[in-house]
């Protein structure tokens, strides 16, 4: 089994909105490290202190609903989160995460994973493996257009090349 990483699962429920990921009062900063110190500040105050680089956020339906604030996925990057696995994502959060290079996997059933369980994810193969329960959850593959964008390094490198070719 080749995996992109193994870490603990921080499990959240359905409809976790961006206000809960990064509360409004911390949006005066655009610095990932500073934002990371306040990820899930009000919802799970222990998160920022206890999360370790390489851990994962695991969620139920509609993760990242609400605001367009890219600070929300950026705060997870700053906190060292290696990826977000959810049963479904809100549109803008999903797009923002890909744009930031934060791996996101749409993966039915992962709401069953226990909090703090040891899991591995493999973005290319598209699965999550729960080591504690020995269960594999298959992810829905990215649409080809998005996969191509990710393979090109994301929207920023894509845009740089576009600007250069226009010169």
């Amino acid at each position: 089994m080749s995996v992109d990483g193994t870490g603990r699962a921080w499990v959240f429920g359905d409809d976790i909105d961006t206000d809960q990921i990064t509360p409004s009062r911390f949006l005066v900063s655009s610095d990932p490290d500073e934002l990371g110190e306040h990820a899930f500040n009000d919802l799970r105050p222990e998160f920022a202190d206890d999360v370790e680089p390489g851990d994962f956020v695991v969620a139920g339906e509609n993760f990242g609903s609400g605001s367009s604030r890219e600070h929300a996925p950026l705060s997870l990057v700053g906190a060292g989160v290696a990826g977000v696995v959810a049963q479904s994502f809100a549109r803008i959060f999903f797009r923002n995460a890909i744009n930031l290079g934060l791996p996101v996997l749409l993966c039915p059933g992962v709401g069953e994973i226990d909090d703090r369980a040891e899991i591995s994810i493999d973005v290319d193969e598209g699965f999550v493996y729960d080591h504690d329960e020995e269960i594999r959850y298959d992810a829905e593959p990215l649409p080809p257009f998005l996969q191509d964008l990710v393979d090109q390094g994301g929207l920023k490198p894509y845009t740089r090349r576009k600007l250069e070719s226009a010169d």
């Binding site: 409004s24 009062r25 890219e70 600070h71 797009r95 923002n96 964008l149 894509y158 600007l163």
Partner: protein, 439 residues
């Protein structure tokens, strides 16, 4: 040949391709907006991708507002305002000040949005522009910052869910009640990645300021956009509000045979005022089910319901009366123009006399950080679009959502009150007119 939805038509036009739901296209954007919260990050992205030869692809189409922390509530917010001011001046973009109002209202009043346009904003309520027949959608700062540089962005052409409302809405029932009902029926994530398209005789009869409410809250069901077919009323509104002379293309309507993922139909005559209970907009119920709930704070404002006609409804209900004891009423106009109109018409005086706090234009308590933040245990009713946990302050507070009429009735009695139970003469006699429609 199958027909097209409005969304498919706009994305076809802006991409030069024959686009249908499910396609990915790269499309030219007509206008872009960001504000003091998402603006600095957008600026970082733009400077990161452009380097030394940085230039905005179309500075005349780029708009910055300062609305979330307006006026600045701390040093970091003030510094962010300065970042925005300096960038806009250096690159020749449009920039509006702390007194000017909420981005979406400013965009409309200042004529940046026309029917058929494709508009993106680093604010999720950029869906508001659908009330004018434009395709407006919220994006993040990386999407917007790269679009600053190229004038383009990629889109997945969304499927469409159609909401058809026939008949006449009863007195005391407004677009806000309709959209809360739609969200309640479809669910908080029910329109994720999709456009909500609104039609039917009751929608066509809505004045534009109410159509904007329907579109504003499309994101509260996960929608990428929420669109009302533009018509002559749209053109008249844009002429009066923004000084724009636009002809409305009769082809900018859904075709017969357009493909919808789902169609919801409603009898407008049967609808009661709606309230969404804490802490999710989908918890919509007839107002009667929440009647009597004690309310500490009523907030009238936001990009949803902070327009003159909304505030006028409240003033008409409260004129000569007093806000209930132990309840506070905060009114925040959506823009400087709305503020001025409240001043000129006596609405501001009536509200202050009634005991309301009337604040300068901006997002107000909806951003949850200042100007009316809620404390532990506070219960509020707001005309805003969101009632997430902690949205307006403490995680221990609770927010109900309702129309301005429901907010007015609630402020009068200090508990959630059906607006049909207060004397209708209080607001209907001074009926708000908008482009020939009196409601």
């Amino acid at each position: 040949m199958t027909g097209k939805t409005i969304t498919e038509k706009i994305l076809s036009e802006k991409s030069g391709e024959d686009a249908t739901a499910g396609d990915y296209v790269e499309a030219t954007v007509d206008a872009m907006v960001t504000h003091d919260v998402t603006g600095p990050l957008t600026i970082d992205v733009f400077e990161d991708v452009t380097g030394e030869d940085a230039a905005l692809a179309a500075p005349e189409n780029v708009v910055f507002t300062l609305d979330h922390h307006a006026p600045a509530d701390g040093v970091q917010a003030a510094n962010n305002h300065n970042i925005v001011r300096e960038f806009a001046a250096e690159y020749g973009a449009n920039q509006y000040e702390i007194s000017d109002g909420i981005c979406h209202q400013v965009m409309i009043e200042e004529g940046f949005v026309e029917p058929g346009d494709l508009v993106i904003g680093a604010d999720s309520h950029s869906t508001t522009y659908g009330g004018l027949g434009a395709l407006g959608t919220g994006v993040g700062s990386t999407d917007l910052g790269t679009a600053f540089a190229t004038g383009e962005l990629w889109f997945r052409v969304p499927e469409t869910i159609r909401f058809e409302v026939e008949g006449d809405l009863p007195d005391g029932v407004y677009a806000k009640d309709l959209i809360l009902r739609f969200i309640g029926d479809v669910g908080f994530a029910g329109a994720t990645y999709k456009t909500a398209e609104y039609g039917g005789s009751a929608i066509r009869d809505l004045p534009i300021h109410q159509r904007l409410v329907l579109s504003n809250m499309a994101i509260e069901m996960g929608g990428k956009a929420g669109i009302v077919e533009p018509d002559d009323r749209t053109a008249t509104y844009l002429e009066e509000q923004a000084g724009l002379e636009v002809g409305v293309d009769p082809d900018l309507a859904a075709d017969d045979g357009a493909s919808y993922e789902a169609v919801y139909t409603y009898d407008g005559d049967a609808l009661a005022p709606q309230v969404s209970k804490p802490s999710n907009p989908e918890n919509a119920v007839d107002v009667g089910e929440t009647a009597g709930t004690g309310i500490d704070q009523v907030f009238v404002g936001t990009c949803t319901n902070g327009r003159y006609e909304d505030i006028r409804v409240v003033a008409d209900a409260l004129a000569g009366e007093q806000v209930a004891p132990n309840t506070r009423l905060i009114v925040v106009p959506a823009s400087r123009a709305v503020y001025q109109r409240c001043l000129e018409t006596g609405v501001l005086e009536a509200l202050v006399d009634a005991g309301a706090t009337f604040q300068s234009a901006g997002c107000g308590p909806c951003f949850g950080t200042h100007q009316g933040a809620l404390g532990d245990g506070d219960v509020a009713l707001a005309t805003a679009n969101r009632n997430f946990p902690g949205r307006e302050g403490s995680m221990e507070s609770r927010v109900y959502l309702g129309s301005p009429a429901t907010a007015a009735a609630t402020a009068l009695y200090g508990e959630i009150t059906d607006p049909r139970e207060i004397e209708t003469t209080r607001y209907d006699d001074h009926a708000v007119s908008d482009v020939g429609v009196v409601r």
